[in-house]
């Protein structure tokens, strides 16, 4: 029913210049035009534009979102639908152009007031080289926007204004690809598969914010809601997007369209199994009964889809694991063989030594588990062993505060940064919460 062609434009270099264009792997960014577009809102006080490359002695701080610029050139709707003024049409059909290896990075310092309101709005960093460069976000080229807004904006308006700036910029950069022939094309459609193949569903659990009005969105919808069936092409076309407040990388926009689970399932579809789609179930409900209800309804949808097997993923941590585990339990009890893809979430330990990797921390690797969760694939865990060194160049801000329980503990972003000393419950390295296994922080391959 849906047929999506992704036209990919690999980016091997990014330079400033005019006019902005893409040619033969080289992206020329018209910085002044981009800045002007970002500033087209009286609530935006200032925007700095920096170009950032992997391998540089550069540290980006106050990372709020990473967005892959995408442009729909055929088919209904707008890439990243129903946010930032984009139309709410159903996406996933037609042709979408995208860059590979390149993204727009949004950096903004969190106002003190918002930091108090949302405890998880701590600072995060992306190091482009050195021992901190362990996540996939250290491998991309960026146009980095450092944005300052009117200080009086409330939380929801602050979030929406920042996202609008970032998506205006991303749309302009994606516009360079309008008339071009993509060097690479991939085609995605869930063509009918042989009836004897096992039916597999992707249970794509997705954190919903406990703070109203913010959080990752499905077609712009952030609130907790009962599970929803999405065609994978909708996700590949940006139906799920991040917010600009909480910097868990599992919630950023880039990972949603680059989630490696989706192409892997496509690769097996029609060969090893029949993929029946993605059930997107929100997590982090506040009451135990709500967690149960969400899990039960997810299981019901999987049964209605005739699933024989399920791959369960999540994009967060903490108490979200309860509904995830209850879902796994219900799927298994319904006779649906289930595998769970997860980071080992004992993320409190920042300085991970090989010895500790061997023996484990004092905490269990998963906060909660059920006996039915008997097939788990780990995407690894934790952080670099050593302090992060001084970097020649810092983009995004001057100081960092990593521990929301100790907001007065700040450090100069230039470093050195002793993460164990400065961090609280979470590693501040953007991408450490590597739920889908794109980084290199695993100590062992199993």
């Amino acid at each position: 029913m849906m047929s999506l062609e992704l036209g990919t434009f690999p980016v091997q270099s990014v330079v400033a210049g005019s006019p902005g264009r893409y040619a033969n792997g080289s992206l020329t960014v018209d910085v002044e035009r981009l800045r002007a577009r970002c500033l087209d809102d009286p609530r935006v006080v200032s925007v700095e534009v920096d170009l950032v490359e992997p391998g540089e002695a550069t540290r980006v701080v106050h990372v709020r979102d990473v967005i892959e610029p995408r442009l729909k050139v055929a088919g209904e709707g707008h890439a990243y639908p129903a946010i930032c003024g984009h139309a709410p049409d159903t996406v996933g059909d037609g042709t979408t152009h995208r860059y590979a290896g390149f993204a727009l990075l949004l950096a903004a310092e969190v106002p003190e007031r918002i930091r108090r309101e949302v405890s998880a709005a701590a600072d995060s960093i992306v190091d482009m080289s050195g021992p901190g460069a362990v996540s996939v976000y250290s491998t991309l080229r960026y146009v980095a926007l450092t944005v300052r807004l009117e200080p009086a904006l409330d939380l929801v308006e602050w979030n929406e204004t920042l996202l609008a700036v970032a998506h205006r910029a991303a749309d302009q950069l994606a516009g360079y690809l309008r008339e071009l022939e993509p060097p690479e094309r991939e085609h995605f459609a869930l063509d009918p598969a042989a009836h004897n193949l096992p039916r597999v569903v992707h249970v794509h659990t997705l954190n919903g914010s406990m703070v109203p009005g913010i959080g990752s969105t499905i077609y712009g919808y952030a609130r907790h809601a009962l599970p929803l069936l999405l065609h994978p092409n909708e996700i590949l076309d940006g139906a799920i997007a991040g917010d600009a407040v909480v910097t868990y990388p599992g919630k950023c926009t880039w990972i949603q369209v680059n989630n490696p689970v989706l192409p892997e399932l496509y690769a097996g579809h029609g060969e090893d199994f029949a993929w029946v789609g993605c059930i997107v179930a929100r997590t982090r409900w506040g009451a135990a009964a709500e967690k149960e209800l969400s899990a039960f309804q997810t299981v019901k949808l999987a049964r209605m889809l005739g699933a024989d097997g399920a791959i369960v993923t999540w994009n967060h941590g903490g108490n979200d694991l309860i509904e995830v585990m209850l879902t796994i339990q219900g799927l298994e009890r319904a006779g649906i063989k289930t595998v769970f893809l997860t980071i080992e979430s004992d993320i409190k330990v920042v300085r991970m030594t090989p010895e500790l990797a061997e023996t484990g921390a004092h905490e269990p690797p998963l906060l909660f588990s059920v006996p039915e969760a008997d097939a788990i694939v780990s995407t690894g865990t934790l952080a670099p062993e050593t302090a992060l060194p001084v970097m020649e160049r810092v983009v995004g801000g001057d100081n960092v505060a990593f521990d929301f329980e100790r907001p007065d503990v700040t450090a100069a972003a230039v470093g050195p940064l002793d993460l164990e000393e400065l961090s609280g419950a979470y590693s501040p390295i953007f991408g450490h919460f590597d739920n889908y296994g794109l980084g290199t922080q695993s100590y062992f391959d199993y």
Binding site: M210, G286, A287, A288, N319, I322, L367, F368
Partner: protein
């Protein structure tokens, strides 16, 4: 202990776990109004005292009915 997330508390070996209301407000429910909230909080505390007086041999869950009428 009173917990909004009894599965974790029980799995961690909490011997007497009283089910709280919600992560955002474990020991009450502001949507009931101040009198209703106070009554609920009282019932939760009373349930805790009953739990303490109940012999248990393994992690045990005690629940509080939110809709229950306040006791005279």
């Amino acid at each position: 202990m009173v917990s909004a997330l009894p599965p974790i508390a029980l799995q961690a070996g909490g011997n007497r776990v009283v089910k709280g209301v919600k992560i955002e407000h474990v020991c009450g429910n502001p949507s009931l109004g101040s009198a209703g909230d106070a009554a609920l909080r009282r019932r939760i505390v009373e349930r805790c005292l009953e739990a303490l007086a109940t012999p248990v041999s393994s992690p045990t869950l005690f629940t509080v009915e939110e809709s229950e009428e306040p006791r005279p």
